[in-house]
Symmetry: C2
Subunit: 222 residues, 2 copies
């Protein structure tokens, strides 16, 4: 049995959880409070970050891109990258867009500032960052609209890791009720498609003690 060390609201961990479900690879989840810098965990991953995937033989893999590429290689069809090199490049470009640019401009500014800081009691949200996050999310939802008007999925004809990465980020922001879905109908319909997949079911059941999500977080008709 594989083990995935994770944190509930980490978009990178959510991405890997969804990939494992999509590829029907069995695993158990273990929450790791990385801020405790637990010695045994640091021995597994000196960078002290999640996600970390422990393979059945005990080998540890860390970093969401590393784990994803590995699962894509060993997990067989259907591909979550695309069917040819140029298609895979477009998929990876969009994953980078969401995991780096969207993460910095939106996820960290909303989930990071509004939720994580309070949850870990490491300070008050920086109101300028929060405001920037609320502005930036519109630009990114417009970009999703733009792509989905032209393609069936973000990177092309088939659903890829680009869709899952983007949805993983948005799901964490949705958990704190901060996605302005009503202004972005096309992006909303795209998200509804992903939200309805069996691979997303456990994500929608995540409940952080003392901090439940709004009702339409898990509602398929939101």
């Amino acid at each position: 049995m594989r083990t995935l060390y994770h944190l509930w609201l980490s978009p990178f961990c959510r991405k890997i959880r969804i990939v494992l479900e999509e590829k029907q690879i069995k695993f158990q989840l273990k929450a790791e409070g990385v801020w405790n810098r637990r010695k045994d965990f640091l021995a597994i991953n000196p960078a002290g970050e999640v996600p970390v995937l422990i393979e059945p033989d005990g080998t540890a893999l860390s970093g969401s891109s590393v784990i994803f590429e590995y699962l894509e290689e060993i997990g067989g069809d259907p591909t979550l990258l695309g069917k040819n090199s140029m298609q895979r490049a477009e998929t990876r470009r969009l994953v980078d867009w969401f995991d780096r640019k969207f993460n910095l401009e939106v996820t960290e500014k909303l989930v990071g500032e509004k939720f994580i800081k309070r949850f870990l009691e490491i300070g008050e949200p920086n109101s300028e960052s929060v405001r920037a996050g609320h502005n930036n999310i519109h630009i990114h939802l417009d970009y999703i609209n733009y792509l989905i008007e032209r393609r069936h999925w973000l990177a092309g004809d088939i659903m890829t890791i680009a869709d899952l990465a983007a949805a993983a980020h948005l799901s964490t922001i949705d958990y704190i009720g901060s996605v302005p879905w009503s202004d972005h109908e096309i992006a909303k319909n795209w998200y509804a498609r992903i939200k309805s997949r069996p691979s997303f079911r456990k994500i929608l059941k995540d409940r952080i003690p003392g901090a439940p999500p709004p009702k339409n977080y898990s509602d398929l008709d939101f």
Copy 2:
């Protein structure tokens, strides 16, 4: 003919330049002052960053990981990733280590603060950051020592993109004379091996107008 938009001291651009040379793929270089936010360049890559690779058919690829994985797929043998999935995972883990962690803790704190800020006239170096960079580089060189004592190359038996990524970062810091090689003999010998490769030759000839490197930057016996 392919075109690579780049910046001289970007470790991410250097990595791709070396990969193209290793794979003997012909290309021309174009320097792109990304800070000018040139309209035609933003049309190619909305993120406004280098490296960007233009394929012979005009298709643009952006982001060093995206470009690398693409070149690895189309460029044929020898592999720069490794021969099996677990090996490739280890290679990608180390690339992430250098491109994210090393970049943040060392490259940005030394090249970014000491050189780029002055070059672009956007302020004085933050002395605390510079001090942290000078401290952090020792930890990372120790890590290279540790790996090279156990393996022939950073990720295992064969030279991979992990070696090239690490060397690309170190080469930019070496350009400003800030790598304490004399304290890290094993890492120095590993770097000498990469520095001697034909693929590295043009990197060693880089000269930024008005800011030449120290003599041993291009010296193979440094």
